[in-house]
Symmetry: C2
Subunit: 262 residues, 2 copies
């Protein structure tokens, strides 16, 4: 009942010698997050209650503060997990296709994005809706995970352009674009050789394309798209094709609606 399992932990890195106490601590921390996630799914955003969690775990409410300094910190942790989870899903989908099938990779990433969003609605709402009482998670914590998430589509498109599968000149985005601080930082502290040469123009193209995809998901999940068009799956495929055309992908590489049995 909790499809958004806590994603691959940052890996035990170096020292496995976990003392018995540290182990229990990790366990209860995970349990708290699991219950919180369930509450999120059942009662919607804002429906997470520390006291209710403590009641469910038969603990004093004050004990929770040994694990999370505040309500916001709990929510932030959930956000980070959600970003990690979606980033994993996107990366996995990307690797479904060989490295030289750029259009296929983009296609898969987009569909994985949608699948994850539909399967993990609470997490989707957490990240892309206004999260909870107002406070958005601080970028300091959520930044790295979000970066990992954003990097995937960027890298895929950059590789496609590099290989000639997509042409930025067949695009409405002008060649020169002023880039912000975050982008520069994101491209420098990147996953090394993943992103080759990356002019701002590509960032603009990817950004608008990615925004279009997100818009569809928001409309489908928060909005009333399902009540307007029943076969949202088909419409999404059309949407992705439109977006790919707008990104300058070669028309022959864009999959027709026929061969979409995966």
């Amino acid at each position: 009942m909790s499809p958004s399992a806590p994603p691959a932990l940052p890996a035990p890195s170096s020292t496995p010698p976990l003392s018995r106490r540290d182990e229990r601590r990790l366990a209860t921390t995970a349990e708290i997050k699991a219950i919180a996630r369930r509450q999120l799914a059942e009662h919607g955003p804002g429906g997470v209650s520390l006291r209710e969690i403590s009641r469910e775990m038969r603990m004093a409410s004050s004990a929770l503060y040994r694990y999370f300094a505040s309500y916001d910190e709990l929510i932030t942790a959930l956000c980070v997990d959600a970003y990690d989870s979606v980033a994993d899903a996107l990366a996995a989908a990307r690797d479904t296709r060989p490295a030289d099938d750029h259009a296929g990779r983009w296609w898969q990433v987009c569909h994985a994005y949608r699948r994850w969003s539909l399967d993990n609605r609470p997490d989707f709402a957490l990240i892309f809706g206004t999260p909870v009482p107002g406070h958005h998670a601080p970028e300091s914590a959520t930044g790295p995970a979000a970066g990992r998430f954003a990097t995937v589509p960027f890298a895929v498109y950059a590789a496609a352009v590099d290989a000639g599968a997509a042409d930025p000149d067949h695009t409405q985005v002008p060649p020169s674009l002023e880039t912000g601080d975050l982008l520069r930082q994101l491209l420098h502290t990147d996953t090394g050789a993943d992103t080759p040469h990356y002019p701002p123009r590509l960032a603009g193209i990817t950004l608008t394309a990615w925004a279009s995809i997100l818009g569809f998901l928001v409309t489908e999940i928060f909005g009333s798209l399902p009540q307007l068009v029943t076969d949202t799956e088909q419409l999404f495929r059309a949407h992705v094709r439109t977006v790919m055309a707008g990104m300058g992908f070669q028309p022959t590489l864009i999959p027709a609606d026929a061969d979409c049995h995966r």
Copy 2:
């Protein structure tokens, strides 16, 4: 300080004879909403407090329940106002261009959409983010206003297709599409002669296009677009052009980036 003024009231319709009491009632109702809107802007979604409102108005908190049966009902009222407000903005922008300048009308509507969203961030968050503690406003109340909002882009595109300014065949959306209940209902109880013949395919095209625009706004307002690209205005123009191309607008009608001094 309250840019999202309560939009044009439904008009006094017939009987102006408002008793002194009814007048005061309307006034206080409006005052409550105004303060709530301000709290929304200052403390974010979820930052609206009935008790704080009552304190500010020097009333007992229980008195507010004479005007709004619950917290949710207040929020719902704010949602409806927001929908009305954005619908007005879109309609006004549409009428900026003559009825036969279909591309110009779409262009204007998109930019008015963005302007309104940037100028009324709290309202934007209310409608398109997960609103507050979880409860989305009931469609029964928000439906008509939302319909008025959605109708504008639909009608503009339908007229464009009718006049040959846009061709659905130059589109990735398949000719046949299963439509849902809401769409049928929306097209029947429409603004009369505004929407001519309206096959589901056009709905699909408009829907995906509109979703793309929304996605950009979400990324700009909730996301970190401004930190990635500084000249978001220029990028938005490119985005709208991409979307218009994807809708099958004739390339010659899509404005170049040069003549975008309005």
